[in-house]
């Protein structure tokens, strides 16, 4: 007898199979690696998760998992601004209230006590880690142990006004000098700011483009001994370049001095800026007619600019799915990790016409022809960039160090301190943090 639920699930599966390339295949592939015989039937997996369309999409696909395993999945969503506190409370409480958590890379070392190392279970479940870019995996490791699997990760792109560039016969900038030149042309001819970038304090957002300039100048955040290296001559030059765009060349909106990332994006989608260097997931918001004046024909993307002769780089951001130490349902939770991290689930979401999220963390999908067709080749570029990208070596002290850095950037941007003064003070502050341990 076919009940209403079975009919609904079957109809949904048929619908997906008929409309989406590979969806019928994907569900079978994702279910194939699960334990047979429903050994965890009746278990409920609780997940503490940040608000993001991708996780809603995971939740929507959990019905097939529940049907196959008897395990139900309950997501609790927390806004990004409160996520760290929620995870901290979970770590201190240690009650096992959640079986799985979603953790951002920068927080992983300081929240390591919350998470159960996953290495053995990854081996048991035969999850092939080679399908993930090395950089993403590194961001989920502490002390050589894999604390979680990448699930939502971002690379940076330069989004630009394709229509204005075409009108004035301009090419997407390859260097930061090009950015200044192009910006000045557009500011003069279109009365629009050249590039919107965040210089205000907000969770380290004013550092995210700066890292690339630092690397492009041959400098780095830390040296091999883990001591601050950003105040070197090359580092200060790179920082001065970033500040000069705002204060000397004045190619950013004047208000950018207090912008956070969202303000910068709003500036471009409101038609006030011609370029914005930002995460790839922002594409959806730039093209959303409810909040943006821009259309697909007006927005192009390119790799982030670099310095002459240098390669483009991207700072990356990665969230992991992790099991909690206090969970009493770790094996059942690992079943869900196995299901949800299958490349086919990610592909389903990427090709779902109802979804607009560009996020992919696995090479098969980054290089997938259908995925690239849908997003104009964005993922192929990301795959290439990810093979060469650097990562900031986060430590448990990173959040405090980042605060010192973002404060220095804010001080330099507002003119309260010169670049050398602000960043030498940050250098001293970080050395104090290292000494205190």
């Amino acid at each position: 007898m076919i009940n209403r639920r079975t009919f609904g699930l079957g109809a949904a599966t048929l619908g997906f199979g008929g409309l989406l390339p590979g969806s019928a295949w994907s569900q079978a592939a994702a279910l194939a690696n699960l334990k047979p015989g429903k050994p965890h039937a009746g278990t409920e997996i609780k997940i503490l998760c940040v608000v993001a369309t991708q996780f809603r999409a995971h939740e929507a696909r959990a019905a097939a998992f529940t049907e196959a395993t008897g395990i139900t999945v309950k997501y609790t969503y927390v806004p990004f601004a409160n996520m760290r506190e929620a995870l901290t409370a979970e770590m201190v409480g240690g009650t096992g209230g959640y079986d799985m958590v979603v953790v951002m890379d920068q927080w992983v070392p300081s929240l390591a006590n919350l998470m159960e190392p996953m290495d053995e279970r990854i081996t048991t479940k035969k999850i092939d880690l080679k399908r993930y870019p090395e950089a993403f995996l590194k961001l989920g490791q502490v002390g050589g142990k894999q604390l979680g699997l990448p699930t939502r990760a971002h690379v940076q792109l330069l989004f630009y006004r394709k229509d204005l560039f075409a009108k004035h016969n301009l090419q997407a900038p390859k260097t930061w000098d090009d950015v200044v030149k192009i910006s000045k042309v557009l500011q003069e001819k279109e009365n629009i700011a050249g590039i919107a970038m965040p210089y205000g304090k907000n969770q380290g957002q004013n550092l995210m483009v700066w890292y690339n300039m630092l690397w492009g100048r041959g400098a780095d955040v830390f040296d091999a001994q883990g001591m601050p290296a950003f105040a070197s001559e090359a580092g200060l030059k790179a920082t001065q370049d970033y500040i000069d765009m705002l204060r000397t060349h004045k190619v950013t909106p004047a208000a950018a001095v207090s912008f956070n990332e969202q303000d910068a994006v709003n500036s471009m989608r409101g038609g006030n800026a011609a370029m914005v260097p930002v995460w790839w997931w922002v594409r959806g918001g730039l093209l959303d007619p409810k909040v943006s004046k821009l259309t697909e024909e007006q927005v192009g993307f390119a790799p982030l600019p670099s310095y002459p002769g240098g390669k483009s780089s991207t700072y990356i951001n990665c969230w992991i799915y992790a099991l909690t130490k206090g969970s009493k349902n770790k094996d059942a939770a690992m079943e869900f990790v196995t299901f949800v991290s299958d490349p086919s689930v990610e592909r389903d979401i990427l090709l779902d016409p109802k979804e607009s999220d560009v996020v992919a963390v696995q090479y098969p999908n980054l290089r997938d022809a259908d995925v690239n067709k849908r997003f104009g080749g964005m993922h192929t570029f990301a795959a290439e960039a990810l093979q060469n990208t650097k990562v900031v070596p986060y430590s448990a002290d990173w959040p405090q160090m980042m605060e010192a850095l973002e404060t220095a950037m804010s001080e330099a941007a507002s003119g309260a301190k010169s670049v050398p003064d602000a960043f030498k003070a940050a250098d001293a502050a970080i050395r104090r943090i290292v000494r205190r341990g």
């Binding site: 070392p109 001095v257 409101g270 804010s410 507002s414």
Partner: protein, 296 residues
């Protein structure tokens, strides 16, 4: 008192006592004990060894602590002064009977009903240089302010922070002062009028002295809340530019939930609590004598 009566009394107040101890005293005791221990969350989910007053010494050595003290002091002085003055001015305007006054008295409390965090977010939008209504309004009205980026300059950012809090609090104090003004005997003003007092003399020499204790109570109450300023710092300025608007409450939060140093954060919380308790004692001393003089 008979013994059974005494037991009954204690029995009746016991639930309230347990509730107060559980929700007020226990967190204070816990904060004090944590402030004497090394507890960095990045190392352990549980408090570690006892370190005496080390956390307090570390706090006093941190330049960020002294910056937060300076910012908090500046904020409290300007915020309390402006809020009280504005509330007094509005209360004096609204004390006369009239349709308009009644209408304003009814709606003036609305800002106080808005969440402080939401006020911070709203002011951030309104002060945005590209599309903010306040930023544009100021630029149109006062052309010399057209180049000001409100949240990017220390002085203007502090002004924005204070303005958001004054907007939030002055209605409450206005209603408080209106209550005081209503209790002033009409005869005193009539006598002053007969003696030829002008408007300013009437306000400063006749009216305000009679509500002096209510003004003091309002000012102290406002001081206590200003000392705890966190929400608008978090949502409006983020403590910036640099750390020029980082108050003690926001710094305590950062040490606890960004730096993950619960021992040091507890020491900072205890310091803040000590300041608040001291002011609270003044507050109670001001309020209690009035109650003693009031009719039984």
């Amino acid at each position: 008192m008979q013994a059974p009566d005494r037991f009954l009394r204690y029995g009746l107040i016991a639930p309230a006592l347990v509730l107060v101890i559980g929700t007020t005293l226990w967190p204070v005791v816990s904060a004090v004990t944590t402030s004497l221990r090394d507890w960095r969350l990045k190392r352990s989910s549980l408090p570690q060894k006892w370190v005496g007053f080390d956390n307090y010494l570390v706090a006093f050595e941190e330049p960020e602590f002294w910056n937060a003290v300076k910012v908090t002091t500046t904020f409290v002085i300007l915020d309390v002064l402006l809020t009280v003055c504005l509330a007094l001015a509005v209360a004096l305007l609204l004390r006369r009977a009239g349709v308009l006054q009644s209408l304003v008295r009814a709606v003036i409390i609305l800002p106080f009903a808005v969440s402080p965090a939401l006020i911070g977010v709203s002011f951030r939008f309104m002060l945005n240089g590209e599309h903010g209504v306040l930023a544009r309004g100021f630029a149109a009205t006062f052309p010399w302010l057209s180049d000001v980026v409100w949240l990017a300059t220390p002085g203007y950012a502090m002004a924005a922070l204070i303005a958001s809090d004054v907007w939030h609090w002055f209605p409450y104090l206005t209603l408080m002062f209106l209550g005081g003004l209503a209790a002033i005997p009409k005869e005193t003003e009539e006598a002053a009028e007969l003696d030829g007092a002008n408007g300013l003399q009437m306000i400063f020499l006749v009216i305000l002295p009679q509500i002096r204790s209510i003004i003091a109570v309002g000012a102290i109450l406002k001081t206590i809340f200003a000392l705890k300023m966190f929400d608008q710092v978090a949502t409006l300025t983020g403590g910036g530019p640099g750390i020029t608007t980082q108050t003690l409450a926001h710094y305590t939060y950062a040490v606890g939930f960004v730096h993950y140093d619960m021992g040091l954060a507890s020491a900072l919380a205890v310091i803040l609590t000590a300041i608040l308790v001291t002011i609270g004692i003044f507050y109670i001393r001001l309020v209690l004598p009035q109650r003693e003089h009031s009719a039984p």
